[in-house]
Amino acid sequence: MPELSYREAVRDALSRAMRADEDVFVMGEDIAEMGGSMGVTQGMLAEFGADRVRNTPISEMGIVGAGIGAAMQGMRPVVEIMYEDFLTLSLEQIVNQAAKHRYMSGGQLKVPITIRTQGGAGWSPGAQHAQQLEAWLVHVPGLKVVFASTPADVRGLLWSSIYDDNPVIFFEHRTLYGLKEEVPDELEPIPLGQARVHREGTDVTVVATGRLVHESLAAAQEAETHGLSVEVVDPRTLQPLDERALVESVQKTNRCVVAHEAVTRMGFGAEVAAVVQYAAFDWLDAPIERVGARFTPIPFAPVMEEFVVPHANDVLAAILRTVGKDVDGG
């Protein structure tokens, strides 16, 4: 089994789809010679040529809009928005167009576009380059939203996103690109809408996304020293959400923590908490805990950024609170 980094796994899924299918192409800012600002598409220009690995002008609205136009003709474009912070510039195309065409044509028009983007804190990029905005998009009927946390997942989920007949917003986390793991020789598509149990446990369920999956796994390890067995579940697809997997886990453990890097208040975790409490109300032994960034923009200075976004110790503190041990996170 080859070892792939998260970055290489994204590239592998893109390249395989492009080898298999003329209808798949990629476009975005600086993705050709430079291979993208994160190096994800490095080498792809040489293999596929400039028509299928297309550098675009700096026009986020145009990138998504033209991708929608290509998708309407049956192509499967994968467009890249360099930072998810700049999804903001293409929101009309995403929210009012991509998400609505199928509905407003009575199901006759499909828009199978995949919008890849990346973001997140951990390297001090400041308030306009470090946000986690997935909660905005899970709120829009007509979109699918994916947030993968491992090389194998990012590969299998990207493949499925490309071949999904709906517009998919595909989030990658900046700090995960170097993460490596062994993956099967053959790409195994991972169905959208299926959660993954990373670690089984009996005392507390942690539902985590993106970078926080890894922080939660570290916290789960640490929780063992407190005599706690923690289950870590990654929904992987945020929209549609694998509610059953989350509920079943909590029915087993009776306690739940939700963890993401995006701000806690009004966040994706609130939806998870609502789903779990409704379906597993009688099973819950403690209030559901939420872990996320504090409610303020991401500061530029590294030390300050550390204070704002959550880490393993915040998850651990939340886990301990669910069993009545009040230890501060940090």
Binding site: R7, E33, P302
Partner: protein, 376 residues
């Protein structure tokens, strides 16, 4: 007066050989030396900042080496009341308005001492999202006109920025409202790895002005005098109520996009070397020397003055005390939401524990995956 070269490019500084030096009306010898002082100040700041970054004292830094003539020439054509809207490439243009070097360096450190009140200097915040500030400048300029004030505004952006909707909407808005605005495009030929030819099919960026119904001029961006003169004309038009002008300053990005970028994968290295040889500060120095306006002693004095100013700036930035974490929440809203006190109390509890010997948060070492773009 500037001569007009092929491609409509205006130029004043000769080459010391076949192309003769021109003069700009209204600039006396002292003014000419002032321009030099500003050029050296920006050059020194930029070179020192790259070192400061390498020392790990500031984050990803957007280098503006060989962009100084565009910034100095245009800023000198403004009055103090005129507003400047910089992009990351003009991060230090505030030096020319009296913002201390330590403030700007602190900005790059993410330290609160790096905040300035734009209204104190008429220099807006540095804009990193591309072209986003163009409509702000249009709006501010329009406001000046509505209030019957004489101030104008200038907004700086790159060649790549002309592909953004915000540029188009801001330019059109300014023209329709006859806002006293100078749209100053630093056409350095590249947007990170994307060359101008992949950004537009227009023969020149100044051609875009036609579509907005405003004049567009092209000027040699390595020629501080030509930039000054073209901007001065645009400022005069704006102040006279004749609306905005688009200035395309043509230069070449001889340095990486930012400290995190390695341009070797995409750039023409021979061209970079050529540009380095004809970089803008040296060109102006040659001009002054041909006119007999710059002695070795004056040159040395100006350079050591700039170096001293930077040393002092760095010392002051380094001496700033660590800020209180309350600033994390304090400035997000005019009146803090109820969560403010809660978040702050929690943070203080954690910090108290950390200071008492607990482990600080784990942090991945270095900006893993930091791409060529870094944060700018």
């Amino acid at each position: 007066m500037a001569q007009v070269l092929s491609g409509g490019l205006r130029r004043v500084i000769g080459d010391g050989e076949g192309v003769p030096d021109g003069r700009v009306d209204g600039l006396d010898d002292a003014d000419l030396l002032d321009l030099y002082r500003s050029l050296v100040l920006l050059r020194t700041y930029d070179e020192r900042s790259v070192v400061y970054h390498r020392q790990g004292r500031i984050g990803t830094y957007a280098i503006f080496w060989n962009h100084e003539a565009m910034q100095v020439g245009s800023a000198h054509a403004l009055a103090d009341e005129d507003w400047i809207f910089p992009s990351y490439r003009e991060s230090a243009i505030g030096l020319l308005r009296g913002i201390p070097a330590s403030t700007l360096l602190s900005w790059w450190r993410g330290h609160p001492a790096g905040w300035w009140n734009p209204a104190d200097y008429n220099v807006a915040s540095i804009c990193v999202p591309i072209a986003t500030h163009v409509p702000h400048a249009a709006g501010l300029a329009w406001g000046k006109r509505l209030r019957g004030e004489s101030a104008v505004a200038i907004t700086y952006f790159g060649d790549g920025a002309t592909s953004e909707g915000a540029f188009h909407e801001g330019a059109n808005f300014a023209a329709v409202m006859r806002a006293p605005l100078i749209l100053f495009c630093n056409n350095n030929g590249w947007a990170i790895s994307t060359p101008l030819a992949a950004q537009t099919r227009a023969e020149t960026l100044a051609d875009k002005a036609v579509g907005y119904g405003m004049p567009g001029v092209r000027v040699d961006g390595g020629d501080v005098l030509a930039v000054f003169e073209a901007t001065r004309e645009a400022v005069e038009r704006a102040r006279a109520g004749e609306g905005p002008t688009f200035v395309e300053a043509v230069s070449y990005r001889a340095a990486p996009h930012a400290t995190a970028d390695d341009p070797r994968a995409y750039i023409d290295l021979a061209r970079v070397e050529e540009e380095k040889r004809r970089e803008c500060v040296g060109r102006y120095e040659g001009y002054l020397r041909r006119l007999g306006l710059l002695s070795d002693e004056e040159r040395e004095e100006i350079r050591s003055g700039a170096a001293a100013l930077m040393r002092e700036g760095i010392a002051r930035a380094e001496a700033e005390p660590a800020p209180d974490p309350s600033i994390l929440f304090e400035h997000a809203l005019a009146s803090p939401p109820p969560s403010f006190a809660q978040d702050l109390a929690e943070l203080r509890r954690i910090l108290g524990r950390t200071e008492a010997g607990g482990a600080a948060s784990p942090r991945p070492s270095g900006p893993e995956g930091a791409g060529p773009e870094g944060s700018v």
